[in-house]
Amino acid sequence: MNPAKFFQRLLQLAPVLLGVSFIAFMMLAMTPGDPVALIIGEHAATPEQIETLRRDLGLNQPLLQRFASFLADAVTGNFGTSFYHRRPVAEVIGERLPATIELSLVALIVALVTSIPLGVLAAIRKNTIFDRIATLFSLVGVSMPGFWLGILLIMIFAVNLQLFPVAGRIGFSHEVDPITGFMLIDTLLHRNFAAFGETLRYIALPAVTLGLPMAAILMRVTRTSMLEVLQQDYVTFANAKGLKPRRIFFRHALKNALIPTVSVAAIETGSLLGGNMIVETIFGWPGLGRLVVESIFVRNYPLVQAAVLLYAVTYVLLNFIADILYTLLNPRVKL
């Protein structure tokens, strides 16, 4: 890829990131009610104290100036103080982030592992009963609300069959000192394989809930793109040359068929962020999504604002990565 083009594309991100930050800023600025009253809460305060706090928070400055300070603070990771925790927002978010990233990554693996083989098989066995079932799975997957799927899985696998725990990240019987914050990695680093197994059991249902709707979309993309590739001249030529079907399939078709899947997967990983809020709430998963939902109900607005900004920036960057991946994998596309 041409480096100049890459940097040009990178520069195009700037206005989008600026706009996204402005909207996140405005969400809080437009909130009805006085932020000072919210911070003071039920404590009695003199008008002087209120005025001082207002000045400290910069609320007496013009809107654009407040946005500029917000932006400058955000770049340095300063998102203010969480009213509820009485600690910096960045610190509170930092504690919860590994759990959310871990869950999202496992969900992504679940989605890829189920969707690619299903999509490829559905394409190879086009119009067979297998194809129909896979297509139905995909249709139901995109139509099913994630929160209901989670509850169904809890009812079937946790309550009735008792194969998995209902909620949480790890049982009380296992104590794992955090190293990376990712429980699956930490348990392995401690060589505590029993705890690793336990962690897998805890993450299974939330990851499936989060990953299945994505799998439904990816399966469809893989099927369509595999069908297209199988009709290409080079596949017909390889067939005519008498190459073994397995070789044609793995060496020629699959590699190209997966290009759209990879870039859609990168975009859809961004959608996992939204799904996280729902899934973490259902499964009592101690991640950022649940923290945001809890924060809304205690009107902890600075945290909600910081999280919205963090999610949006991640989403924009994931879309950028998807673009780049698509170009790198597919040399015919010029960035």
Binding site: V16, M27, G146, Y301
Partner: protein
């Protein structure tokens, strides 16, 4: 005004839209799905007539009463009762009003805004296009649910606020489609001809271009409705949507969460209702797309 040609195979001599309609009607699953959607809409409209009970009528003696086919069930409450003893079937019927009303209202407003913005951006080009396209890019920078949750957290729950929160984000989808279609249409002969006879920009956009791109927009709007319904249900599930005691499917699923050990039916039926409606809309819109906008057909 010219009508775009469709590649759909149909009876020659018939107007394009009738040929497309024939293709749609030949698709049995799409036809069945459309019937299911119509049934849901009818159910929402005549909810007060068909609901067997008042959806907000509580009676703690009927708390978590099981459906009729389970021991302890009662024909008067076919799908059982929730934790406050309210009839689940009646709440399901009334809940369809919220889902369908919000789905339709959001898609309608978003489509109108999206069409106007997309036409302006695609036809007028220049700074109008730059401004609109930048706003679209920025709004696309937010994951949908997070944008809606952020706005609802700040604006507070309520029916009007949900519609607003979803419209703010939803209009960018039809806008992008319309902009792209308008850019292509702008170079077509019929538009050039209208320009040559001195038609105003407004006339060209609304009377010449719009009728030709309407089928593509309609198809997109029906697909989006399914998404909006899931969004509304998700917001209501999180407690950010329509407020109790108003029945909404998402809120009903959330209400049953605490009792999944003893009363699975409280969460299961409203979830099934969402699945059935969204699935039906998806299948029907796929049929519409295949018939009316075959460029996107698989």
């Amino acid at each position: 005004m010219t009508v775009i040609a469709s590649s759909t195979a149909g009876a020659p001599g018939l107007p394009i839209w009738r040929q497309n309609l024939r293709v749609f009607c030949a698709n049995k699953s799409a036809l069945f799905a459309s019937a299911v959607v119509v049934l849901f809409v009818a159910m929402a409209i005549i909810a007060p007539i068909i609901a067997p009970h008042d959806p907000n009528d509580t009676d703690l003696f009927r708390r978590l009463q099981p459906p009729v086919w389970k021991e302890g069930g009662d024909w008067a409450y076919i799908l059982g009762c929730d934790a406050l003893g309210r009839d689940i079937l009646s709440r399901l019927i009334y809940g369809s009003r919220i889902s369908i009303f919000i789905g339709a209202a959001v898609v309608l407003f978003a489509t109108v805004i999206g069409i106007l913005a997309g036409l302006a951006a695609g036809y007028l080009r220049g700074w109008v296009d730059v401004v609109i396209s930048r706003i679209v890019d920025i709004l696309l920078g937010f994951p949908y649910l997070i944008f809606a949750i952020g706005l609802m957290a700040m604006m507070g729950p309520g029916l009007v606020n949900i519609v607003l929160a979803l419209v703010y984000k939803e209009w960018v989808i039809p806008c992008r489609v319309v902009r792209g279609e308008t850019l292509a249409a702008r170079e077509q002969e019929y538009v050039e001809a209208a320009r040559a006879v001195g038609a105003s920009s407004g006339h060209i956009m609304l009377r010449e271009i719009l009728p030709n791109i309407l089928s593509a927009v309609t198809v997109i709007s029906t697909v989006r409705m399914a998404n909006v319904i899931i969004m509304e249900a998700s917001l209501s599930f999180l407690g950010l949507g329509v407020q109790p005691p108003t029945a909404s499917w998402g809120e009903m699923v959330a209400g049953g969460r605490e009792f999944i050990m003893e009363a699975w039916w409280v969460s299961t039926f409203p979830g099934l209702a969402i699945l059935a409606l969204v699935l039906a809309i998806n299948v029907a819109s796929q049929g519409l797309r295949d018939a009316f906008d075959p460029r996107f057909a698989e």
